[in-house]
């Protein structure tokens, strides 16, 4: 890129790409910025803006009133739920019940499959 051939508009399209980054401007842009006050001002405006954005990080957002309490209550509810599930998993009666329910579900699925297969066979026989 030739500095003399670069117009302000072109230079400004590159500014947001380089400003605030470690990469250095191409020489042609550097040369333009060294001689064009308006573009140099525009660059410093970008730099100032990004500086302000970075400064926002140090400004903590105040949490809404009661935030910590609500968070801990939510955590407590989740822990209570987990404890209940764990207790249930250790209870032999619950295991028997779960095995029973599992057996019923598997049995029902097997019966449904058999019925479907028979229905298909009958339909095939009728078609033949």
């Amino acid at each position: 890129m030739d500095a003399r051939s670069m117009r302000c508009e072109e230079v400004r399209t590159f500014l947001p790409e380089y400003v605030g980054e470690d990469e250095v401007y191409p020489r042609s842009i550097q040369a333009h910025l060294a001689t064009c006050t308006a573009c140099a001002l525009e660059e410093s405006r970008y730099a100032g803006l990004l500086q302000t954005v970075r400064g926002l990080r140090d400004q903590d957002e105040l949490t809404p009133a009661g935030f910590a309490e609500r968070t801990l209550q939510r955590l407590e509810r989740e822990l209570a739920w987990r404890r209940r599930v764990r207790r249930l998993a250790r209870d032999p009666r619950a295991r028997v019940a779960a095995a029973g329910i599992g057996g019923v579900v598997v049995g029902a699925a097997a019966i449904a499959l058999l019925l479907r297969r028979n229905a298909r066979r009958r339909a095939a026989l009728r078609a033949a």
Binding site: R45, V53, L56, Q59, T63, L75
Partner: protein, 185 residues
């Protein structure tokens, strides 16, 4: 100051992992403004930010056992908050905005005098006006110092796409604040 913060954070995390009573409460009390602040900057809404911050703490609690002590707690915490915010935005159906930018930019506001400085409240308001995808990228890069590669990993996009968003985000932010017309040559 940052060093002593880091030591306190590390001690608190260790106490939480040992299951010491009150340690997690202390951790929440100490980090809540940081966590809520990041959540708010990412989702741009105070009510949603509370949900995200709470979800992040649940994730922190579940994952404390897998936290490697040589890692920096703050970085780990920020990553969890960012993940929680991304999950939230995707669930809210705002994911398309995270991966695709709107075709047309809104008309910039009237130009302001060149020598007028920008205050933090103005910048905060302007950031909130940006589309999700641009705001999230700018916040993670400029405020939290994540590299383009790290941001790409968080958002599930390429490093090149992150650079494009940074470019657009900075330009859009500048347009929102200063207006575009006055420096046309």
């Amino acid at each position: 100051m940052a060093g002593s913060n880091r030591l306190v954070d590390a001690a608190l995390v260790a106490a939480c992992r040992r299951g010491e009573p009150g340690a997690f409460e202390e951790l929440v009390a100490r980090t809540q403004h940081r966590v809520y602040g990041l959540a708010y900057r990412l989702v741009g809404d105070r009510g949603e930010a509370e949900d995200v911050a709470q979800e992040a703490y649940l994730r922190v609690f579940r994952a404390l056992g897998s936290f490697r002590e040589e890692a920096r707690f703050e970085t780990w915490l920020h990553r969890i908050v960012t993940n929680a915010a991304m999950t939230h935005l995707k669930r809210r159906g705002r994911f398309p905005d995270l991966v695709r930018e709107p075709e047309t930019a809104p008309e910039p506001p009237p130009a302001r005098p060149a020598d007028q400085t920008v205050d933090r409240d103005e910048v905060r308001a302007a950031l909130a006006e940006l589309p999700e995808g641009l705001r999230v990228t700018l916040v993670l890069r400029e405020m939290y110092g994540l590299s383009c590669r790290e941001i790409g990993e968080e958002l599930g996009i390429s490093e090149g796409a992150v650079k494009v968003r940074l470019h657009r985000g900075r330009k859009r932010l500048r347009d929102v604040i200063h207006g575009r017309a006055q420096h046309e040559v």
